[in-house]
């Protein structure tokens, strides 16, 4: 496929020089690329692997101080072929293989950076960087501060991060939250090929230590790359998020691979009449607070998506930012998080898939934000997109709190609900509500233990208006009754209502 693509590209740009071709497929061939070439290139497709390769190649050509070290980066051409061709082009001084001694070579990279060289230290995966984390944090990240400005450390630690496919617990951890917590580091999580090119080049040129978290499953994925992004001086600013898709109804905030899932979810939501904005964080430290607050203020609903573990994750930080900033007053619903399962990563396909966020989870979370509105519409009914039967979670047996629900109306109803502008929203929205409740509370079917509802042909995450549990709750919070008679058509209904009463 690559060869065919190369031939096709060569046909298009014949006469513009081999240098240009080298930039387009990211091969380590020729010189500087588009600079000085008269004919402008069209946008092209580039895999993440080639994007990273071309960025490394250009930065090594540009600055003698840049060198690459890591396991299998040279003769093996890179464990994931990200450094393919660089050894042939630059030789042993500029790119060299290390023994399997992460703590040692991360320290060596740091020491070289102390003296003003610009090492790019590759970890085969960031799981192995745990062995080196002392050098990254204590020798690199804190150095500028401890020396009070005497030493900067221009080192880049890069490699794949997060879940791959079937590599189990010790090889699937996402380190975004851990590294993003450390002051003195810059932490970058690119998504598409342009991100990779622009941000890796910026990372290498940055005078501070950078942790550059790639994703193995994205390496082979191709993305369009504009002509501007193919230039050897194309840089993207570190610390700035990017709106991948503008929208008005809900913000999906994420980074790296999950951005792709959010884009897919946004397409599905659009088909249902919901306009989702997708914010690609690009950098986790420094986190683009302004962009997060701006998108929340624009859409009033936020879903934060990450692949890693939930506790103290990036999505938690997004929640915190929105809580403590002016964006809180603009939220119409609590922030929803979609994260990986809070478990070590299992191996079997079905288990692994269940442990990771899927597009359906993003849709469900979106639906929850829309249903849980503060302004009294409350009757919006939503349903999730279905999973294909073969991938159904039902096949695993019932979820602990799963409930089979009757078919719920599609998202269109939710869209209609959204289009009604709620009362009280003016130039400076202020949150006004009855003293006891914040409008009609939603009931998530995972909370509802009602097994009495008619078995659904489709799994849904929401009780309907007919659900007696829901109606009981509404009755309680509306505070219109002081005496509650629990009566049910079946014993199950009554006991379920009783439970809900206790909870309420």
């Amino acid at each position: 496929e690559e060869t065919t693509r190369r031939r096709a590209v060569v046909r298009v740009v014949v006469g513009a020089g081999g240098a240009m071709a080298s930039v387009m497929f990211g091969r380590a061939v020729g010189g500087r690329g588009v600079r000085g070439v008269a004919r402008r290139m069209a946008s092209t497709q580039m895999t993440i692997r080639d994007a990273l390769n071309s960025a490394l190649d250009e930065e090594m050509a540009r600055d003698e101080r840049v060198f690459v070290m890591g396991e299998e980066v040279a003769q093996y051409q890179g464990a994931y072929k990200v450094t393919k061709g660089l050894f042939q082009k630059y030789g042993e001084k500029r790119i060299f293989d290390t023994p399997i001694t992460e703590m040692g070579f991360a320290g060596i990279a740091t020491g070289a950076a102390y003296k003003g060289l610009r090492p790019v230290c590759e970890f085969m995966t960031f799981n192995f960087a745990m062995q080196a984390i002392d050098q990254i944090v204590n020798s690199a990240a804190k150095q500028a501060y401890m020396t009070n400005g005497d030493m900067n450390v221009p080192v880049v630690f890069r490699g794949p991060n997060g879940a791959a496919a079937g590599v189990a617990a010790q090889h699937s951890q996402c380190f975004a939250a851990w590294f993003s917590q450390v002051p003195g580091l810059k932490v970058i999580t690119p998504w598409n090929a342009e991100d990779c090119r622009g941000l890796l080049k910026s990372a290498i040129r940055d005078p501070n230590p950078v942790v550059f978290l790639e994703n193995e499953l994205l390496y082979g994925q191709a993305f369009p790359v504009s002509e501007e992004a193919q230039s050897p001086d194309f840089l993207l600013p570190i610390g700035k998020a990017h709106v991948e898709r503008a929208g008005t109804d809900v913000s999906l905030i994420s980074f790296t691979k999950m951005v792709g899932y959010c884009m897919e979810a946004a397409d599905k939501l659009a088909a249902q009449g919901i306009s989702a904005e997708v914010l690609n964080l690009r950098t986790l430290r420094p986190l683009d607070r302004d962009a997060i607050i701006a998108t929340a203020k624009k859409t009033h609903r936020v879903v934060a998506v990450e692949e890693g573990w939930p506790q103290c994750g990036i999505a938690s930080e997004i929640c915190a930012i929105l809580m403590e900033s002016e964006a809180f007053d603009y939220l119409d619903a609590p922030v929803e998080r979609v994260t990986g399962a809070d478990i070590p990563m299992p191996y079997a396909t079905a288990l692994e898939k269940a442990a990771l966020p899927q597009v359906e989870d993003i849709l469900a979370a979106t639906a929850r934000t829309i249903d849980r509105t503060m302004y009294g519409t409350g009757t919006a009914r939503v349903s999730t997109a279905q999973r294909a039967p073969s991938e159904s979670l039902e096949s695993l047996g019932p979820r602990p709190t799963a409930a089979k629900q009757p078919t719920a109306p599609p998202l269109a109803a939710a869209a209609a609900a959204l289009s009604r502008s709620p009362p009280g929203r003016g130039a400076t929205p202020r949150y006004e509500s009855p003293p006891l409740s914040r409008g009609r509370p939603a009931i998530d079917s995972r909370e509802c233990s009602a097994r009495h509802c008619a078995p659904a042909s489709l799994p849904s995450l929401f009780c309907t208006e007919e659900c007696p549990v829901r109606r009981l709750r509404l009755a309680l919070t509306d505070n219109t009754s002081r005496r509650i008679v629990v009566a049910g058509g079946t014993h199950n209904q009554a006991s379920c209502a009783h439970q809900s009463l206790a909870r309420a």
């Binding site: 501060y145 401890m146 005497d150």
Partner: protein
């Protein structure tokens, strides 16, 4: 057995010096100090020379540096007890010959990194007593403006890279400094070396083995200097290391053991090691036998794992400053004794004055200094992030 063996070496050296006393020609003239038997080699083709060639002015320089180190560390002790210094404070008194010997053997082109016991290395590489004491007292006039403290002294201009709080972590970083030295030297030319100092307590760290392996593979100009002061915190080498001969732990990598209480022994040993490294032979282990009079840090009385007799015996027989003074006095005319006394008096006064000045300074102001220098540009200027969360608010830069 170890201290006795070293004491024997010293006594031999001194008796030889006595024998040649008549041959030196006074101040400025050559003084030859025998160092026979002061070195043990491991896979070394050659040992350092059997004698050190020096002069009175050189020896007086070393004495001044070492005595300043000693007075400064004693001042730290007093100030710590007076609570003007807080937190960690790891003192170097007893080990001065190593700091002074390395400073004499290496140049400012050579990179130096050490552990948290780094006050005296900072002194050797451009720090002043006042800036060091001010830093320990947490003053804004301190070497890192009160940001670093006892374990974090640096001077990039003089190729001194700290000052490392994590035991052993300085060694891979030191290998990185060596790599940078090799990277920036045209092939075939002499390279500046890098020296990474660490203790017997650190010597078994895995990352040190890793660094030595890579340094040997890539022929990095790295001197791995083990300052064996006989105790890793409270644990002696016999209890911490299955192989106590640290200079042999490089396996196929050459090693050298020397008397770390004799500044000339250290100087010659380091010169020899530097020669090997700078010409591309690869790394060398250099083990310096030494002793620390204080405990591991100021929170360690230093007597639970050793007895006071041992400390007193080392002080009486192997003290590096006393050795050096004897050497000077035995190889100089009578008048030099007055010079030595005057030097000591001057250094004491200078250190006391520096301490006074350090105390007069003021601590850094959080409003102006707390959030500085997290990120830098290539010229060392502060490039602060846009927002920094503080306990009470969100600081916007």
């Amino acid at each position: 057995p170890e201290p006795r063996q070293m004491a024997w070496h010293w006594r031999r050296a001194v008796s030889r010096a006595a024998a040649v006393r008549g041959l030196s020609s006074g101040s400025g003239g050559e003084i030859r100090v025998p160092l026979d038997g002061a070195f043990l080699g491991h896979r070394l083709d050659s040992l350092p020379p059997g004698e050190a060639v020096t002069s009175l002015s050189e020896l007086m320089e070393y004495l001044e540096l070492m005595y300043t180190m000693r007075r400064m560390e004693i001042t730290c002790d007093n100030e710590y007890k007076a609570r003007t210094i807080r937190g960690f404070c790891h003192l170097y008194d007893g080990q001065e010959a190593i700091g002074a010997g390395i400073a004499a053997a290496l140049t400012d082109e050579d990179s130096w990194i050490t552990s948290y016991r780094c006050h005296c290395v900072m002194l050797a590489r451009g720090g002043t007593v006042e800036s060091i004491l001010a830093e320990l007292m947490g003053m804004s006039t301190g070497a890192t403006g009160g940001k670093g403290g006892s374990m974090h002294f640096y001077n990039k201009k003089r190729n001194f890279y700290g000052g490392q709080g994590i035991v052993g972590a300085q060694v891979p970083v030191g290998a990185g400094l060596a790599l940078a030295n090799k990277y920036t030297t045209p092939p075939g030319e002499r390279m500046p070396v890098a020296i990474a100092c660490y203790g017997d307590g650190a010597a078994n760290q895995g990352q040190i083995w890793e660094s030595a392996n890579m340094a040997a593979l890539w022929k990095l100009p790295l001197i791995l200097c083990i300052e064996n002061n006989q105790y890793g915190m409270g644990t002696s080498p016999a209890r911490s290391s299955s192989n106590n001969d640290y200079y042999t732990m490089g396996n196929l990598i050459p090693g050298l053991k020397l008397d770390g209480m004799n500044v000339l022994s250290v100087r010659e040993g380091m010169r020899h090691a530097k020669e090997l490294c700078a010409t591309g032979a690869g790394p060398v282990f250099v083990e310096c036998s030494t002793y620390r009079y204080h405990g591991h840090s100021m929170s360690d009385p230093g007597t639970t794992y050793r007895n006071r007799d041992e400390i007193a015996q080392v002080r009486a027989t192997r003290d590096p400053i006393e050795q050096l003074k004897s050497l000077i006095l035995q190889n100089s005319p009578e008048s030099v004794a007055d010079d030595v006394k005057a030097l000591e008096k001057r250094v004491r006064a200078d250190v006391a004055k520096a301490c006074e000045n350090a105390k007069k300074a003021s601590p850094p102001d959080p409003a102006r200094h707390l959030h500085n220098n997290i990120y830098l540009d290539d010229n060392g200027n502060d490039t602060p992030p846009q927002y920094i969360r503080m306990p009470h608010s969100l600081h916007t830069t």
